[in-house]
Symmetry: C2
Subunit: 585 residues, 2 copies
């Protein structure tokens, strides 16, 4: 037994107890005759006090020589503090040491181990084990643990079984790129790491497991963008004998439970919105619904008045920035610059100010009279003091651009508070999407997603119009999970593979075992997968998933702490039957 | 909503309710005017009854045409059964169908989906998703789920934090062979899959996480033996500021909790035995303590009597097979054959029968008189009717052989009941073991294990005699977990690497980040890891871990269901900068 208590638990009631604590030196203050040491562990901070005349001289000498992050073991009596510290849970007491032992010394850390640190990201990644000592980072990991625990509590409580599916599986060309693992025993053959346990969870439904979940690592060898990780964690779920609403209700319940238990928030019911409406009113399939600012389409009232830009546009659409009617020339120019940035790519921005006196002032006054603009304003339900911002052009492109402008205005107007949460189901996604590069349709979700039966006749005539039994959960404009009702019929699955451009042989080669399983009584089933890292970062009020991963990789897929990936011995390559490709000069 | 109830929950109290069930056809019985269908799901079986005159004719027609494993949806009224079945939880009731729908047909399965099946192992592995439908296999997975859940409940309840460590890490030559993952972005470089999160959990201790656990997949690219899997699951744990006894008490508590919650067994306290005693009394570092049959060493009483085989032996040692004194010539010959098998390799077996009249009959009567044999018998505490079995030779080899004979006698005498559990800690393992092949010492546990400080002076003089702060948990002769108190001091770790034959550069190259971490205040720490698959199989009363893995690989490391590993496209190899080695003709 190294200690009797941790550094976070002693209170005024413990005064006069003899205790032993262990921890790290957070800081020392030496005022000559008095030395204070703040001792830190995972649970909190406790103050040690060394006083000339009161404390043994050798202990004072030792205390004087410890530095930040030294590991200490200290025994002594709990005493009431003279000046209490209300900001610390142990702030009523301190320890008068009778024993004091340095368990391990420490070099001066490369950055300060405090809530606010002076260490840059690269340095903190290299010394991640020191960064994890800082309260905010450690608390993120504790939040993650609590999320894991409450997820399991909820799902276990409604009869879900956690089943571990294999990590060494089979490579499939569909979807993103696999990481592969060469087999030493079977030269020239490879395992692949799973991008998701999709086929295994469907096989478990064929097995009659009824309700499956797993919190599981998945892998994608993609060119990394900011805040993507090659390995990530999913809450992976599947249920049998369910309709779409059964799945939505079950997992809405999961996230409601998490909000309640982890954040103490009653998040209420989740509104549902069709993909078509999400695109029409927010220009996005993951709208941030913390604020309204819905799109209003103006084709009807803005076209045919001689303004060629609008007349030739597929879509004229705008938002109402409430209360921004007094924006200056400079502010309006900044918004125009924003939408003209290459990432957004609008040609220009039309504005209409709704003046306090009921009149309007717009950038297109030449083409539109007061009555015209009044008609516009009615479309937005605009009031005096509001500012209408209007874009036009090709439909999809214009919606995307206006969606970015809407989020930007939300930021400017402080409508995107990280402590406020707005949830949403987006449903009725398209089944297929056209891929310009390969010149064929791709499954928007994945090839096992079932089509909406009402739309089946469109599958040949107008594949892009077929709706899928697919859904996403969106919180604060972030997609946190997505899933679908699956195809459970072999013939339907074959049809789908055909529409996705698989030959029968390719389908059999890649998914033969699933197709075969469907011959033996597959139940109707569906499921969902949540991006657990993202869900944690959202609950933690952060934009970065890296803050919620204990040992993340950087944007080049590298772990700079352990220096991985790295070269391996040529013997190892020989054993695997592999050569490195010669680089041609 | 596909169903109102599952197939396991309806009882006599539910009579007259209108219900809808879904499930698989377990079997049908057609007696002309009556048809019964047993409908199965994960939760149980419910009987449907179709009766001419009572049930609509079209439903009867449909019922007549369903086969085994068809997926069915059926609505109807719950009625009391005429002849009840006490062996089934729903045996008091049956359903009179008013609606009957085939959700999916099934081909005839390749083996019978019942508790006892006619399918051989290979066939069941290929159609694992059908094997998982069988009650015994499904129950194994449910047991595994419960073990996962109760492990987490216990550890969470005593402040352990579950932290996910990375799967894509760095290859290290020490220990077993790594699986590697080629990096596409950094050609010629590789990630490795973890054999255990050992270094990460030690870094988490440096980070002050205090109590860590993780239930985690680990990987070893070994030549597979029976009942080894290339990927396996560990309960991985680590604690700071602990002595050996703190660790033993904590994890004894975990396994006690599992026995209580999962099996309803109070397993009591775990005895502790030194490695030296385990070897001396059981000839094994993982003795099966479900039965006594301890070794007795006979050098003192058996040497110097002119029997050259014993006189020239390093060790003469035997066991007492209680009550086997009447064994026939044939039985004794069979035991001799057993110990002479090449895997065991004894030269011969000496026996002494303790006759009912107090006399002795031995295979070495020529050298030993009745008084000599009486002395032997006293060493064993033998009684009339017992049989002493004695081996001799080089110490380690003889102990191994006698250990095998002891287990064999335990089997013969029915002393190894799978429903009886005997637990044990084996402690004070040697720190180092000599490896004949490489002609140097290896870490018996791993290179981070701390030596017993009392033995430090032996490190140079007699390295093999140094004891480690290492321990194994043994249940019924199976090592279910092992761990150690770690080295937390950089200088000690350097000394250890030197003794293991690492140059400073090699140690730095491979473990540099851990060595560096120890510069910044590492706390004293220690931990343990449990083989979770093995623990589940032990709780489930099975010898095979494969029975407790949803989708296991075969002994050649192959998943015969999905056919993995498999070849990949040459494009994929190009992207990875790899060539398959040409096979030389």
């Amino acid at each position: 037994m190294y200690r009797t208590h941790n550094c976070g638990e002693l209170r005024i009631e413990d005064v006069n107890k003899e205790v032993t604590l262990c921890g790290w030196v957070q800081k020392t203050r030496d005022k000559g005759g008095m030395i204070w040491i703040d001792l830190r562990d995972r649970y909190g901070l406790t103050q040690l006090i060394f006083e000339e005349g009161e404390t043994a001289a050798d202990l004072i000498e030792k205390a004087r020589n410890v530095g930040r992050e030294f590991v200490i073991r200290c025994s002594g009596k709990v005493v009431e503090r003279f000046s209490k510290n209300e900001n610390v849970a142990t702030g009523d007491i301190e320890i008068k040491p009778t024993q004091f032992e340095i368990l391990n010394a420490s070099q001066v850390p490369p950055f300060i181990i405090e809530d606010e640190t002076d260490g840059g990201e690269d340095l903190r990644m290299k010394y991640r084990y020191l960064d994890l000592r800082r309260n905010p980072v450690r608390k993120n990991m504790q939040l993650r643990h609590q999320m894991l625990k409450e997820t399991r509590n909820y799902l276990d409580g409604i009869d879900f079984i956690e089943v571990e599916t294999p990590v060494l599986i089979k490579s499939t060309p569909e979807g993103a790129r696999d990481f592969v693992v060469p087999s030493r025993i079977h030269h020239g053959e490879f395992y692949a790491l799973p991008q998701s346990p999709q086929t295994f969870k469907q096989l478990l439904m064929v097995s009659g497991f009824d309700k499956y979940f797993q919190i599981v690592k998945c892998f994608r060898d993609e060119d990394l963008r900011a805040d993507r990780q090659p390995e990530f964690t999913q809450i992976d779920c599947e249920m049998s004998f369910v309709t779409r609403d059964d799945v939505l209700n079950t997992f809405e319940g999961l996230v409601r439970h998490l909000f309640q238990e982890v954040k103490g928030i009653d998040i209420g019911d989740f509104p549902r919105m069709s993909y078509a409406d999400a695109m029409k009113y927010y220009g996005s399939d993951k709208p941030d619904t913390r604020f309204e600012m819905k799109f209003a389409e103006l084709n009807e009232v803005a076209q045919g008045k001689g303004f060629n830009v609008f007349d030739s546009a597929e879509l004229v659409v705008g938002i109402n920035a409430k209360g921004c009617g007094e924006y200056s020339r400079k502010q309006l120019d900044a918004l125009t610059d924003f939408v003209k940035r290459p990432q957004i790519g609008a040609k220009g921005l039309v504005y209409v100010k709704c003046n306090a006196d009921g009149s309007f002032k717009s950038s297109v006054d030449k083409f539109y009279g007061q009555d015209d603009l009044k008609e516009w304003a009615e479309k937005f339900g605009a009031e005096p003091g509001d500012l209408l911002l209007v874009l036009s052009g090709e439909k999809q492109h214009t919606r995307n651009a206006l969606s970015e402008l809407r989020l930007h205005m939300g930021d400017i107007l402080g409508l995107r508070d990280k402590d406020k949460f707005s949830t949403l189901w987006v449903v009725d996604f398209p089944l297929l999407e056209w891929d310009e590069e390969t010149n064929r349709y791709h499954a928007m979700h994945h090839p096992f997603t079932s089509p909406n039966l009402e739309d089946m006749e469109l599958l040949d005539k107008d594949p892009g119009a077929v709706r899928a039994n697919a859904y996403d959960m969106v919180i604060n404009g972030t997609e946190v999970g997505g899933g679908s009702i699956r195809i459970h019929d072999k013939e339907m699955q074959k049809t789908m593979f055909r529409h996705l451009g698989f030959t029968d042989d390719e389908a059999k080669e890649q998914f033969g075992f699933l197709m075969e399983a469907f011959e033996f009584g597959a139940p109707p089933h569906g499921g969902i997968a949540f991006g657990f890292d993202r869900l944690c970062s959202l609950f933690g009020g952060s934009d970065s998933i890296r803050d919620f991963i204990a040992f993340p990789k950087n944007n080049a897929g590298r772990d700079v702490m352990i220096n991985s990936p790295s070269t391996i011995d040529s013997d190892q390559l020989d054993e695997l039957g592999l050569d490195l490709k010669k680089i041609e000069v």
